[in-house]
Symmetry: C2
Subunit: 757 residues, 2 copies
């Protein structure tokens, strides 16, 4: 176990590194050459332009005005200044609600910490379990921190009822804040949707799993189906092309063009020598050739291939996938179609609200129903495998976290570790960083797994990946750290116990693991967030691109990667802090200030980033909130169950009924919130649709929706082309449905089934 | 443990009593005086009339034709003869699909039994676990039956893999049959709905939780809301009156009228003496008064009260509950409204398909959202309490089931029990019957609990009560019998084990409990079904009524209680047989023939009853099938888990992965069936609605739906009155909505919110 001085050392290191990052950020952001990285959002909006260079050339890159450097922390008040409503206009509701989660963390934990420090800390500290233990056991090691934790209260003590009471108070407070926040976010979402400008997705429904038809093409079949079944509301539809191959060619071409630009630039700078490359893989081997000629020829080849493929896709009826975007004359019509079942077979003609065009994940639109199911089952299996496979490296990391354990295992290392300044460094940095490398790679793997599962919007993909990551963090970082760490200390006990004993072991280990988690919060939370604001990787990439690829201002614009909030990575990690705060609020409240510092710091940093840097790829109007709510509830219930286990090992068995009520009540609270609020995030009520329709009709009676919606949902590779993917055979609202269907027996369409029934 | 001779004795007794019941039934049904009880459905349909009495007077009551008695079992082929399609017309889809469940039992268990008898029985019988045990332990008691069970295979034997393989075969067969049946029932339901005649509920939606409005009455508010939000489809609506008090008065009056008739009849038979009664409670004490005068006066009083209350209900706006039946111009409009969310607040304006008028449970229509939730939580708690409180009497019953245990506890009873013929009687009858009495009372309690939960259709009430009963039978009859029975045998072991050991104990006890369950099947199943066809209680009640209350033919018609299939009682009990069959198919297959006999016999009897007796109170078009399917799946998974536990105690631990796969696969199968079929039982697809609408428009273009639907949903106490509960202010389809709303700020209606947004 780490001592107080270890914690102090670690806090100093991490605090200093955080401050170092901030100072660096303060300096870097003032340099004009970094302007595009640290204020990318403003460039994107066209508000910030490249500053005219008046003065010496160097001023274009480096800020020489020393007064500016005196106000290094200027960005802090600036980022807090913008009011929320303006921020929604500026950055979208997704980002604003995301920042509110950090604020929610503060709202939950600041009062809890105050209460815990005034009530629980004195109760724990004035008891004397460790004093008793010391007299009994000789070589017991424990730190000062443990004197502030529940471990200092002896078994069977009446003082444990204070902890139970506080668990109730904390639960009620957390639930109250969650309820309030759910209500606020729901209102924000509904207001946002109600005041939103006209968008194609408001009128459109995505239809998947269109059954094959022998007589009609997909496009004709869709047209007929919706003309028959939504006669007053159907407007037009757009079929979906399977352009995955074409998209790949376009990406390849872009890559080649970058290389061409790189070599052209090189040639321009040193016109005396033509740049060369090698013909083999990635230009690494093969015979040497002229680079500019080679890449020009390659691009030419690919361009031809692209044109060919494009023609094939548009011409070939097999390139049309059995899915379509169907648009209606009003939002009401779309709301009706999205919420109802179309045919007897619920696996055909599946309708959903269309995602906004940039949210569509085109590759997955053609997945058949059975294949989807099988893919999801397989991925669930793969995910379980992944989760438990990762246990092994994590367990290895945890051995490093515990220097005393190492010393016991390899005693000859003891003088080295104890002697120098090694110990606090190892203790403070190493375990967090090794874990970190795992965790950085993981979200990408999980995202790929979600793509295989076949979800068709980027927002769903991110939310699914986030769900997996959350579960992974729960099992491996939280439970894994607790149980595995204890295994090394109590390996003999563990081998004798049955699997059902693991929860008990976990709850016993929790107070012991407080110091480990404090270190984790500092490394992952404090220093991690400070690194976030510095944006090291995008900064380096921007400057590399700037040197090698940029010729014109447009190139420079393209070189700027604004990036976006990586929801699937950040949110589950944040949930870990909620979980830690809730678990330790009754057990070792001394951990809470570290969490509060994290939430406050993160709130500040992300507010700054959202204002100045990030550009969201899509806007889901905070549709992720039910997930956030559910995960905090899960954390709350885990904390209650662990406290229950802990108390039962403390021989406060008559407290069990009191502690059993708590998770049940929490679950009922969750059920209530779900039934009260969740539908606002899943369905679009008809009344709201009708109000928006009515208002629009009154304001713009002559609006031509058909021209507005036509081409709204075309695959991005077709963007800019004069390609009309929508079928407009019936420009006038002719109610007679032309059909190419031959009238033979057994055809399965809707018209013939009228005759059959 | 019961020996083979005990089982034989029990089988003889139960078989004989079943045959006795059948002979009795054969005789009784031939008597003209019982005709109305045994052929009540035909009377109800008007096909069977009271036979003209040609011949001696006695022939009116008793059948003297001896030739009829020679064909006692004539009803068997007769009840099998009617083809299924005709049966649907005759008795409705609910009853037909109900009978199919018994047939499904046969389809599942006959092949399983054949396979088990050819494969598993020889495998078990030729092993020699008991031979080994006998040489080791002196006083081990086991019966011949156990030699046919898995108990005869020693631990760690390779033969256990035959059982695992058979578990796979049985699972796949059961799932295949379940899938096939789900598909057939879905098709039957969809066909039934498609060919169904025009019914009010096809056009109607039940709206609940209409929010209070300061300016408008419920009726006006509903009118405006739907005119605005479903402008093209809304037709009319009917408000719901809180007539619970009025309904109570009507029932009281009917009861008093029965008494009056009784005394009038008495007076007619003995005109020399006026019948008297007593003024006190139920005519049991108080001063003696003239009965006819007294009841006439009482009826008079109640009639006045009824008129008063009726006027109050119709006149008082507070008697209108915040719920309404809203009818649309087409089935399409109703389908849309039922499947969509109306407003932002999902707890207001909740829309559901309207149940058919006779299916409505009027008392519960006014429940507010929060109250509903609280009631359901409380009832869930009460049900858990009930389930575990019942454990005590059941445990007591089980001590009786085990004569050997009694003899060990009270040795002086031994000569009495062993000496006479007592033993087989006690063994065969007592445990089953005591259990039976508990179980007869239970469904009524559970039904009342479901009513408190606030469901508003009789079909849902029955399905909820069935769900509770099923859980109760699972916990108390199945698990309770197994675990408690074993507790008495192994009380010392049990006290030492932790609660997590119970599943293991259960699986060990299963083979031992086979004989108990065989007895249970014979008593509850065989004899119970035979008693069902005899309809003793309705027969007695009919004859009593006939003697005391009947004057005219109409009275006699009213005295006949056709009864209906008690879904909430029969279905969960039947599920117990599915569970027993699945659990014992691999463990003690000798139990299977008893189950097959039960299913075959029950199929026969219920087919007869459905044709000749029962009259369903409502028609839900087999909407209960997903429940049936789910419960059989639950039984299948329980059987797999118990076999897993049993095998792990048999030291076939390397078999665990094979056995773990099985419940996972079964669960995935269930998920697939759910996504594939369940929506056909929950939602009404728009295409089907459109087809029916189109056909109807073509056939009856001038149909006046308004007159057809008006008054379809009025409370039964208002039936027959010329009461117009629907609001018809806008007979012509005037799109302008008149409003009584004062235009003040903050009113919450839909029109003002248009202005506010």
């Amino acid at each position: 176990m780490a001592t107080v001085s270890d914690i102090t050392a670690s806090a100093t290191i991490n605090g200093l590194s955080a401050i170092l990052f901030l100072v660096l950020f303060g300096i870097l952001r003032l340099q004009p050459m970094n302007d595009r990285v640290y204020f990318s959002k403003w460039y994107l909006k066209g508000i910030r332009e490249n500053t005219k260079t008046t003065g010496p050339f160097v001023k274009k890159f480096i800020n020489l005005d020393y007064r500016m450097y005196l106000k290094l922390l200027n960005w802090v008040p600036a980022s807090l200044k913008m009011p929320e409503s303006e921020l929604i206009d500026h950055a979208g509701l997704d980002s604003v609600v995301y920042i509110r989660i950090y604020l929610l963390g503060l709202k939950i934990f600041v009062p809890i910490a105050l209460l815990a420090f005034t009530v629980l800390l004195p109760v724990n500290y004035t008891d004397r379990n460790f004093d008793i233990l010391i007299t009994k056991v000789e070589d017991l090691t424990f730190s000062q921190i443990d004197k502030f934790s529940i471990s200092n209260v002896p078994s069977g003590s009446k003082r444990l009822f204070v902890h139970i009471f506080m668990a109730y108070v904390f639960t009620f407070w957390t639930c109250y804040m969650l309820y309030r926040e759910y209500k606020i976010v729901t209102d924000m979402r509904l207001h946002f949707l109600a005041t939103e400008k006209r968008r194609p997705d408001q009128f459109t429904v995505l239809v998947r799993n269109i059954p094959p038809d022998v007589d009609e093409s997909v496009s004709e079949y869709v047209e007929h189906f919706f003309r028959v079944n939504h006669p007053d509301q159907y407007l037009l539809h757009q079929v979906v092309y399977n352009a995955n191959k074409l998209a790949k060619i376009v990406t390849q071409k872009k890559d080649l063009r970058n290389r061409l630009v790189y070599y052209s630039n090189k040639y321009e700078r040193r016109p005396n020598r033509r740049p060369t490359t090698k013909a083999g893989f990635w230009g690494l081997w093969g015979k040497t050739i002229d680079a500019i000629d080679y890449y020009s020829a390659e691009i030419e080849k690919l361009s031809n291939k692209e044109v060919e493929e494009r023609e094939r896709v548009i011409g070939d009826p097999k390139a049309v996938v059995p899915a379509a975007f169907v648009s209606f004359k009003s939002r009401w019509g779309a709301a009706v179609c999205a919420q109802t079942q179309q045919t007897r077979n619920p696996t055909h003609w599946i309708t959903d609200w269309a995602p906004e065009p940039r949210d569509v994940y085109w590759d997955n639109l053609s997945m058949p129903f059975m294949e989807l199911n099988i893919r999801r089952v397989l991925m669930a299996g793969a995910f379980i495998g992944l989760t438990f496979f990762f246990m092994i490296p994590i367990a290895f990391v945890q051995t490093l976290a515990n220097i005393e354990s190492i010393e016991k295992v390899v005693p000859f290392l003891k003088p080295i570790i104890d002697g120098g300044t090694m110990k606090p460094i190892i203790q403070g940095f190493l375990p967090g960083i090794v874990l970190k490398i795992f965790l950085i790679l993981l979200p990408m793997i999980l995202m790929e797994m979600s793509k295989i599962e076949g979800y068709f919007t980027i927002s769903t993909l991110e939310s699914r990946a986030a769900g997996k990551f959350h579960l992974f963090l729960l099992v491996n970082v939280f439970l894994g750290s607790i149980v595995t760490g204890t295994v090394l200390q109590q390996i003999q006990v563990f081998l004798k116990e049955s699997p059902s004993e693991i929860p008990k072991i976990a709850s016993v280990a929790i107070p012991m693991k407080a110091t480990f988690f404090i270190t984790y919060i500092m490394v992952d939370g404090w220093a991690g967030i400070a690194a976030e604001i510095l944006k090291v990787v995008p900064l380096i990439i921007f400057h590399l691109k700037n040197i090698f690829l940029v010729k014109t201002e447009i190139d420079r614009e393209e070189a700027t990667d604004q990036g976006s909030l990586l929801w699937a990575t950040y949110e589950p990690r944040m949930q870990l802090y909620f979980l830690l705060g809730l678990v330790y609020s009754t057990v070792t409240p001394i951990l809470l200030p570290f969490i509060i510092v994290f939430f406050a710091f993160a709130y500040l940093v992300f507010r700054h980033q959202v204002i100045n840097v990030y550009d969201q790829k899509y806007e889901s109007a905070a549709s992720y909130w039910p997930d956030v709510h559910r995960r905090i509830i899960i954390g709350l219930m885990i904390s209650q169950i662990l406290l229950l286990g802990l108390l039962s090992t403390k021989q406060a068995l008559h407290s069990t009924p009191f502690m059993l009520v708590l998770p049940v009540l929490t679950f009922l609270f969750h059920r209530y919130c779900k039934s009260r609020f969740e539908s606002a995030f899943r369905k679009f009520p008809l009344q709201d649709a009708m109000i928006k329709d009515t208002l629009e009709n009154a304001r713009e009676p002559h609006l031509n929706l058909r021209t507005y919606l036509r081409g709204a949902y075309i695959h991005p590779v077709f963007k800019g082309l004069e390609l009309d993917t929508s079928m407009d055979v019936y420009e006038d609202d002719n109610p007679v449905v032309a059909t190419t269907r031959r009238s033979h027996k057994g055809s399965s369409g809707e018209l013939s089934s009228i005759l059959v029934v």
